[in-house]
C-alpha cells in the first residue's frame, strides 16, 4: 500500500492521481464522520474516546438490570422466565421461520454472482490466514457449547426418542422427543437424536452468524460505515441511523453481548468448578469460583492487550489444536468404525429430517420445537451481534462466497463430526456397553463421565477442563473488543483502557451475580433480546442483498 510521491529524477512532489490499491467498492455517500458524536477526555491521565449516548445509556441499563436483579431476585426471575417462555411458546414459529430465512439466503448467495463480491473492495487482501481466521470464527461462534452439549444433547434426545410419544389428558404431547419419536426403535432413535442435535448446531446457528457478519462486513468495509450494528439499517433508515433509532440498536447489542458473556462466564465457571471437583476433588465453593473468574478475566485481559492478531488469534488456534486432539482421541479410542459410518449416516439423517425439523408451523412436538429448537434459536440470535461483529472484523479480504462457505458449511461439517464422535461414543457406552453413569450424570459432567470410561482419563479430562476454560477466554476477549467498538461509535482504534474496562466489568458482574444470585435470571433476560434481533437480522438479509447488488464483483 505504498505510494511514493517523489519522482525518481527530482525531489518535487508528483501530482499524479493515486491509484485505488484496494480496488473498486461502492462507498455510501454520507456526511457522518465516524466518532463525531464521541466524547474524548483524559480523566486521571487515562484516555477515553466513547460514543456519549450509547456508552451512557447502555451503562445505565446494565447497572439498572444488575441492581434490580440483585435486589429483587425472587421477583425478577419469574418475570424474565415468563417473558422468555412466552416468546418461545407463542413466537417459537417466528424464530424457526426467521432462522430458515437466514440459512436459505446464505446458501443461495454462495451460488449467485454476488458471491464474487470481495469484502473490503475488489483487490483487498485477507488480514488473516485460513487457519487463524477459521479458528477465530469457530472459537467465537460456539466453542464452549460443544463441550457441554456434545455428549448431553445426543444422549438426551436418544432417551426421549426411545421413550416414544406420550399424550396428556388434553391431547397435547407431554414427551420431549423430536418429531414423531422412535419408540423402542434403537437405530431410529439414534438416527433421530443425532439429526436433531446436528440440526441445533448446524446450518441454522451459523446462518444467523453469517447474516450478521456479512451484512456488517459489507457495510463497514465496502460501504464505509462504522463497524457497529446500526450500520446494517442504512438501506432502510438512511441518515436516521445516526440518531436514536441507531442508538437503540447499538444499546440493545451491548446489552445482549454483555449479559450473554457475563452470565455464561458465571454459569460456565460453576460448571468448570463442578468438573474440577468431580475430577480432582477441588472443592467448588465460592472461593474456587471467584478465582476461576478472576483467572479467566486476567488471561482475557492479557489477550485483548495483545490484540486480535497476537492475542485472540493465538488463543483461538490453541483452542482448535486442543479441541482437535480431544476429538481425534475420542474417535480413535471410541467406537471408531461406528463413528466413521455415523458421520455419513448422521449427515444423511440430518438432511432427511431437516425439512421436518425446521418446519415453523403445525408441529406436534411442541415441547421439542419450542423448548429445544426455539430456545436454541433465541440463544444463537441473541449471541449473533457479538459473533457477527467479531467475524466481520476479521473477514476483510475474503469474497462473499468464501465467507459463506467458511462461516456456514465448514463449521456445520465440523459440528457433524464433533457431535457424531462424542454423541456416538456416549450412546455406544449406554447401548452396547451397558454403562449408564453417563446418562445419570449431571448435564455439565456428562462429558467427563464419558471420558472416564475411555483410557487415559486423567489426561483427557485435564484437556477437557482446559478447553472449557480457554473457550471462555476466547469468548471473553473477543466479546470485550466488540462491546468496546460498539460503545466507541464503531471505532476499533479507541484507546486501550476502554477494552480493559469492559473485560473487567464482565468479570466483576459475573462475580457479583454469582455471589448475589440471579445469573440464570439475567441470562434469560439476555435471551429475550433474540426477538428484536430476529427482526434486526431480517433487516440484515435485505441489507445484504441491497448492498451486494451495488458492489463491483471480483474477477
Amino acid at each position: 500500500m505504498e505510494k511514493n510521491t517523489q519522482r525518481p529524477d527530482d525531489d518535487k512532489p508528483s501530482s499524479e492521481g493515486i491509484p485505488a490499491p484496494e480496488g473498486a467498492s461502492n462507498l455510501i455517500d454520507t456526511d457522518y464522520v465516524i466518532g463525531q458524536d464521541n466524547i474524548t477526555a483524559s480523566p486521571m491521565g487515562i484516555d477515553v474516546d466513547l460514543h456519549g449516548k450509547v456508552f451512557l445509556f447502555s451503562s445505565i441499563v446494565i447497572l439498572l438490570f444488575v441492581i434490580l436483579t440483585l435486589a429483587l431476585q425472587d421477583q425478577m426471575e419469574p418475570i424474565f422466565n415468563s417473558m422468555f417462555s412466552f416468546l418461545t411458546t407463542n413466537l417459537g414459529w417466528f424464530f424457526i421461520l426467521g432462522a430458515n430465512v437466514f440459512v436459505v439466503l446464505a446458501i443461495v448467495l454462495i451460488f449467485t454472482p454476488m458471491g464474487k463480491v470481495r469484502i473490503g473492495g475488489a483487490d483487498a487482501k485477507p488480514d488473516f490466514g485460513y487457519a487463524g481466521w477459521f479458528s477465530m470464527l469457530f472459537a467465537a461462534g460456539m466453542g464452549i457449547g460443544l463441550m457441554f452439549y456434545g455428549v448431553s444433547e445426543p444422549l438426551g434426545h436418544y432417551g426421549t426418542a426411545m421413550g416414544g410419544i406420550s399424550m396428556g389428558e388434553n391431547g397435547i404431547r407431554t414427551d420431549w422427543a423430536p418429531l414423531g419419536a422412535a419408540a423402542g426403535d434403537q437405530a431410529g432413535a439414534i438416527d433421530l437424536s443425532m439429526a436433531a442435535t446436528i440440526f441445533h448446531w448446524g446450518f441454522h446457528p451459523w446462518g444467523a452468524y453469517a447474516i450478521v457478519g456479512l451484512s456488517l462486513a459489507i457495510f463497514a468495509f465496502n460501504k464505509g460505515l462504522p463497524l457497529t450494528m446500526r450500520s446494517i439499517f442504512y438501506p432502510i433508515l438512511g441518515e436516521r441511523i445516526w440518531g436514536w433509532p441507531g442508538h437503540c440498536i447499538d444499546i440493545l447489542a451491548v446489552f445482549a453481548t454483555l449479559f450473554g458473556l457475563t452470565t455464561s462466564l458465571g454459569i460456565g465457571a460453576t460448571q468448570a468448578a463442578g468438573g474440577l471437583d468431580y475430577l480432582f476433588g477441588i472443592p467448588s465453593g465460592d472461593t474456587t469460583l471467584v478465582l476461576l473468574i478472576l483467572g479467566i478475566t486476567l488471561v482475557a485481559l492479557g489477550s485483548i492487550l495483545l490484540g486480535v492478531d497476537k492475542g485472540v488469534q493465538r488463543l483461538s488456534q490453541l483452542n482448535m489444536v486442543l479441541a482437535a486432539l480431544l476429538l481425534l482421541f475420542v474417535i480413535i479410542v471410541g467406537p471408531t468404525l461406528m463413528i466413521a459410518t455415523g458421520v455419513v449416516d448422521n449427515l444423511i439423517g440430518y438432511v432427511t429430517h431437516l425439512s421436518a425439523l425446521s418446519m415453523p408451523f403445525g408441529r406436534e412436538d411442541a415441547n421439542f420445537s419450542q423448548g429445544w429448537t426455539a430456545f436454541y434459536w433465541a440463544w444463537w440470535i441473541a449471541w449473533s451481534p457479538f459473533v457477527g461483529m467479531f467475524i466481520a472484523r476479521v473477514s476483510r479480504g475474503r469474497t462473499v462466497r468464501e465467507f459463506l462457505i467458511s462461516v456456514l458449511l465448514v463449521p456445520t461439517l465440523a459440528s457433524v463430526v464433533w457431535m457424531t464422535a462424542f454423541g456416538t461414543t456416549a450412546i455406544d457406552q449406554v447401548v452396547n456397553s451397558g454403562i449408564t453413569e453417563v446418562q445419570d450424570a449431571a448435564l455439565e459432567l456428562q462429558l467427563f463421565t464419558m471420558l472416564e470410561h475411555l483410557p487415559l482419563t486423567a489426561i483427557t479430562s485435564f484437556v477437557g477442563i482446559t478447553l472449557v476454560i480457554v473457550f471462555f477466554i476466547t469468548s471473553s476477549d473477543s466479546g470485550s473488543l466488540v462491546i468496546d467498538s460498539i460503545t466507541a461509535g464503531g471505532k476499533v482504534d479507541a484507546p486501550k483502557p476502554q477494552r480493559i474496562f469492559w473485560a473487567l466489568i464482565e468479570g466483576a458482574l459475573a462475580i457479583a451475580l454469582l455471589l448475589g444470585g440471579g445469573l440464570a435470571a439475567l441470562q434469560t433476560a439476555a435471551l429475550t433480546t433474540g426477538l428484536p434481533f430476529t427482526l434486526v437480522l431480517l433487516v440484515g438479509c435485505y441489507a445484504i442483498v441491497k448492498g451486494l447488488m451495488s458492489e463491483p464483483r471480483a474477477k
Binding site: I18, D127, G307
Partner: protein, 139 residues
C-alpha cells in the same frame, strides 16, 4: 549522519504532533535527509478515513504539505491493521526495516503512571530497533 527519517503520523491527532514536525523539518534540512511519513490505520472505517486507501490519500496530501514547508523529499506509507491500537508498535518496528530508516522522530506524551502497564509507543520502539529514536515531548 542521517539519510532517511521515519515519522509516525496519527492523522486523527495532528495537533499534538506540531512540535515533532518542526524538529523533523529542522533535522531533515540539517542532514539533507529524506522523510517517510508512516501512518497506521484501522482496516475498518475510522474518524479520519473510511478506507485504508482514503487514509493513504490524506497522508499523501499531508506529506506534500510538509514538503512545501521544508523542501526535503517526502514519501508517505500507510499500514492497515485489524487492531491498530494493539499492533502499532510491531508495525512501526517492521516499517523501520522495510523502509530502511536510520532515524525515527516521533511525538510522545509526558511520562505517566499508566506507562508501567501500557508503555509509551516511542519507548517501546526504541528498545526494538537499531535505528536512532528521537522522542519529542509536548511544549
Amino acid at each position: 549522519m542521517f539519510k532517511h527519517i521515519m515519522v509516525p503520523i496519527d492523522l486523527a491527532h495532528i495537533d499534538v504532533l506540531e512540535p515533532a514536525l518542526d524538529v523533523v523539518a529542522d533535522m531533515a534540512k540539517h542532514y539533507d535527509a529524506k522523510i517517510t511519513y508512516v501512518g497506521v490505520t484501522s482496516n475498518t472505517p475510522n474518524s479520519v478515513a473510511r478506507t485504508p486507501n482514503e487514509y493513504e490519500q490524506k497522508l499523501d496530501a499531508f506529506a506534500q504539505k510538509r514538503h512545501g514547508v521544508h523542501g526535503q523529499p517526502v514519501t508517505a506509507k500507510v499500514y492497515g491493521s485489524t487492531d491498530p491500537v494493539a499492533n502499532l508498535d510491531d508495525i512501526l518496528v517492521n516499517a523501520i526495516d522495510e523502509i530502511g530508516a536510520d532515524l525515527i522522530i516521533m511525538a510522545t506524551h509526558l511520562p505517566k503512571k499508566l506507562d508501567a502497564v501500557m508503555p509509551a509507543h516511542g519507548g517501546k520502539i526504541a528498545t526494538h530497533t537499531d535505528a536512532s529514536v528521537f522522542l519529542v515531548r509536548p511544549h
